[in-house]
């Protein structure tokens, strides 16, 4: 391993030495802990298991509320598929926004399958053109998979993987067919 010799210097122009090109500066920033605690600072800071417990218990407290909200959001997703397929841009934007929320939050609150299907849906929407929206079948299958994931949380992971792969194949096939037709 290469040894690196770093000489700390005072800030400002004086800090730039002859070897360093004048347009490149490396600045050592004092740690926030050092700044805030001053003489009380003892390095290094370590992860405190009690604090971690506290954080995890906070997540558990929020889980029940989230589960209720998630169920309502999924019902909303189901309602949004049809208007989205008919060209309603507001419905499309709402559908993406809801699935984006699920992608980010469901896994944290103990619904990893919902999170994975929502992630797949988001990635699909991010590359959706108007024809994809109007076709609507891939959207519908995703939303059904999300509904199923919350209704049957104990689903065999192998089945989940197979469903995700099937959705992936469906996306490729739908887009492939259109390319050939076009």
């Amino acid at each position: 391993m290469e040894q690196r010799n770093i000489t700390s210097r005072l800030a400002g122009r004086d800090a730039v030495t002859g070897e360093t090109p004048p347009d490149v500066r490396f600045i050592r920033v004092p740690s926030i802990a050092e700044r805030k605690l001053g003489a009380d600072y003892v390095a290094p800071m370590r992860l405190d298991p009690r604090v971690l417990d506290q954080m995890q218990s906070t997540i558990r407290t929020l889980e029940t509320k989230y589960a209720e909200a998630l169920s309502a959001q999924i019902s909303m997703l189901q309602l949004l598929v049809e208007p989205s397929a008919k060209g309603d841009t507001e419905a499309r934007s709402r559908l993406y926004s809801l699935s984006h929320d699920m992608r980010g939050l469901a896994g944290t609150f103990g619904f990893p399958l919902v999170g994975r299907f929502a992630d797949s849906l988001c990635r699909y929407i991010e590359h959706c053109d108007d024809e994809d929206w109007r076709d609507g079948s891939v959207l519908r299958f995703h939303v059904d998979a999300i509904r199923d994931a919350i209704d049957n949380p104990g689903t065999d992971p192998a089945i989940t993987m197979e469903t995700l792969n099937a959705l992936e194949r469906l996306i490729k096939a739908t887009r492939g067919n259109r390319k050939m037709a076009g």
């Binding site: 010799n5 600045i27 604090v51």
Partner: protein
């Protein structure tokens, strides 16, 4: 010691999802963070910086108007102000290599992928609070040193001189 540091810091959370804002705020409060400020997008966060000067920014990547990348870029462009060197933790569901590299090249300090975990957030907080990386300023990049590993590399090592802020 840990609690006393957290009690003295303020964190700005920028996320367009109300749930995510609430989750992050509650988790930060559980850690003992003294002040948590919330903004719903990059534009609102920018406005908020007129009156607040947080110690850490936690921002989502995808937001409208003013996404996390744009917001981080604006922050990093603040030369001559401590705010320009503020640690930025980017929280994102886009975990592909391209997005992570984009975040790195814009000067993001830490990347936290969604779904977030308590441990993931806590570890990144400790990282930015206690182990700051050397800050680099070049004509094309401004942000923490992107080389995290001290491994040999080809080319000139320009890290020989480090200014102390």
């Amino acid at each position: 010691m840990t609690e006393s540091v957290f009690g003295k810091i303020s964190v700005l959370v920028v996320d367009d999802s109300a749930y995510m804002r609430h989750l992050l705020m509650t988790l930060l409060q559980a850690v003992g963070v003294g002040e948590v400020h919330l903004a719903i997008n990059g534009e609102e966060a920018w406005e908020l910086l007129n009156t607040k000067e947080p110690d850490i920014v936690i921002t989502d990547a995808a937001m409208v108007p003013g996404d996390g990348f744009m917001f981080a870029k604006r922050l990093r462009s603040l030369r001559g102000r401590a705010l320009g060197m503020i640690p930025i933790i980017m929280v994102s569901g886009h975990t592909d290599l391209e997005s992570v590299e984009r975040a790195r090249d814009i000067g993001i300090t830490e990347f936290l992928s969604k779904p977030i975990s308590a441990r993931g957030l806590y570890e990144r907080l400790i990282q930015v609070i206690d182990r700051p990386r050397t800050f680099v300023e070049t004509p094309t990049y401004r942000g923490p040193d992107r080389r995290r590993r001290d491994t040999p590399f080809k080319g000139e090592d320009r890290r020989g001189s480090v200014a102390l802020l």
